[in-house]
């Protein structure tokens, strides 16, 4: 790709990518550490995750300001326009991922004194691992401007949805077995839902990357496999 005649424009575009990479790295870190805090029942680590979310929020604000200024001053066109608007959209998704990780960390504080049933924790760990893998892949796709990779992330979200469905059922069963499990299970359920939402934001980013690279939206509908909104396990 040829460089812009105006060098400072080129530098500003590069700065957008740098900030997205930074935010992505922080979001990945928060999500990973929130799982650790949950598993190890480590209130200090959980507190750290909650505190570190400010850094992601600050970057989002900075990036937003930069985008507004670039639109006003540069009047971007074509791939530059898609790049700048894409960065604006991605930053919002990354900020939300940071919030969701923070929420998991907060929940880990609430249930730090409870016994965590191993099979459920394993399920949550697998979900987080997959969500982190997807997030890493989509950030790579952005950095490499790889629409195929973005498309593959977009398709793989179905796996996270499937894991969430299965965990949802397990948690409902667990609650039905003994009402004393309800407090813990509800927190874990929300935790799992948060991870599922991380997957959705990652999918949004994949769609943005695809648009950014190819200039067209992903044509087919995203596979939606979260059926929990319409699921009820009867107690009888």
């Amino acid at each position: 790709m040829k460089e812009h005649t105006v060098k400072s424009y080129e530098e500003e575009l590069a700065l957008l990518d740098k900030k997205i990479a930074q935010m992505g790295g922080l979001a990945e870190q928060s999500l990973g550490r929130s799982l650790e805090a949950l598993e190890r029942r480590d209130p200090k680590l959980a507190e750290d995750v909650v505190q570190s979310d400010h850094a992601i929020d600050d970057l989002e604000r900075e990036l937003e300001e930069q985008v507004i200024s670039m639109v006003a001053r540069r009047q971007p066109m074509a791939d530059d326009l898609r790049h700048i608007i894409g960065a604006l959209r991605i930053t919002t998704d990354l900020e939300r991922i940071g919030d969701l990780a923070k929420n998991i960390a907060k929940r880990s504080l609430a249930i730090a004194d409870e016994v965590h049933p191993k099979p459920l924790m394993t399920g949550i760990r697998h979900m987080v691992e997959l969500a982190l893998h997807q997030l890493k892949e989509v950030l790579d796709a952005y950095g490499e401007r790889d629409a195929e990779k973005a498309l593959s992330v977009w398709r793989n979200d179905a796996q996270i949805d499937a894991m969430y469905n299965s965990l949802f059922r397990e948690l409902l069963t667990y609650m039905m077995e003994d009402p004393r499990n309800i407090g813990l299970s509800t927190h874990l359920l929300f935790g799992a839902k948060n991870i599922e939402r991380v997957g959705d934001h990652t999918t949004n980013i994949a769609e943005t990357v695809h648009y950014l690279v190819r200039g067209v939206n992903i044509a087919d509908d995203r596979p939606k496999d979260d059926q929990t909104s319409s699921t009820l396990i009867s107690g009888t």
């Binding site: 040829k2 009047q75 074509a78």
Partner: protein, 276 residues
């Protein structure tokens, strides 16, 4: 609060699709394999371009790319340049404009032109506009002529600003008003096609906005072709855009598409400022 009045009953999607539909209208102009030579030097290479009626077509490209040369083919202005040779076929309303039986004066009556620098005649505002209709025999009586002058000024959005000094010299107006006077002069002969060669490059942003608003209104009744160096202006005023480079028509399409997702790398490099 300024009035950025927009038809709110239309969604943006509808506005966009209206813009895309512009390409579906009947074509006012069709050009096939149009080449232009200045002596030995070829300035345009086999240009095939359809220009829809009642819409604005923007021609963009770097200096010397052939966009103005192409524009000047449409009213056979290049005929006036010695050594200039035009080949290929250009039809306006299906009629070949190079047909030997065609009256060039009559053609230029149907094709109005507005230039980069406002060029009013050194006469009154009234006479500037009355000149064309008079020589083309469009007004039989004095009151007919007055009516044409008034309605042309009105269509050009200039009437309210000049109605008390219509017999003062056109050259006494501000640059933006002069340009709108030239547009009024162009539409007074009731053309079907209006060619504009960088009509705003000598105007300030306020005068530019007025001319752009006028272009927006005129497209309801005219076919407009505008050459502009301002990509933003092309994006704002046109429904379709054609990009020329080194005498070749590189790409033509719906304006929104051209400025968000151009197909050709040369178009992309040009509109994003990667000149090299």
């Amino acid at each position: 609060m300024n009035d950025h009045s927009r038809p709110f009953e239309l969604s943006f999607g509808q506005l966009e699709s209206a813009a895309s539909d512009a390409g579906m209208n009947n074509n006012k102009v069709t050009s096939r394999k149009v080449s232009v030579f200045y002596g030995q030097k070829q300035a345009l290479f086999d240009v095939d371009l359809d220009i829809p009626d009642r819409a604005v077509m923007a021609l963009i490209g770097p200096s010397g790319c052939g966009k103005s040369t192409f524009l000047r083919c449409l009213n056979r202005m290049n005929d006036t340049i010695p050594e200039c040779r035009v080949t290929g076929e250009i039809k306006v309303d299906g009629k070949d404009i190079h047909d030997p039986d065609l009256d060039v004066v009559e053609l230029r009556g149907r094709v109005g032109m507005v230039f980069q620098k406002p060029n009013p005649f050194p006469k009154s505002i009234f006479e500037n506009i009355a000149y064309g209709p008079r020589i083309h025999g469009l007004a039989r009586t004095k009151s007919d002529l007055e009516e044409i002058v008034i309605s042309s000024l009105e269509k050009a959005g200039l009437l309210s600003e000049v109605k008390d000094r219509i017999h003062e010299p056109g050259t006494a107006l501000s640059g933006g008003q002069q340009q709108r006077l030239c547009i009024a002069r162009a539409i007074a002969v009731n053309p079907e096609l209006i060619l504009m060669d960088e009509p705003c490059s000598a105007l300030d942003p306020i005068a530019t906005a007025k001319v752009e608003e006028l272009i927006d209104e005129l497209k309801e009744n005219f076919c407009i072709v505008i050459v502009t160096h301002s990509m933003q202006q092309a994006a704002r005023v046109s429904q379709r855009t054609a990009f020329f480079h080194l005498g070749v028509l590189v790409e033509e399409g719906v304006t929104v598409e051209m400025f968000t997702n151009p197909k050709d790398k040369r178009t992309q490099d040009y509109i994003t400022g990667r000149f090299g």
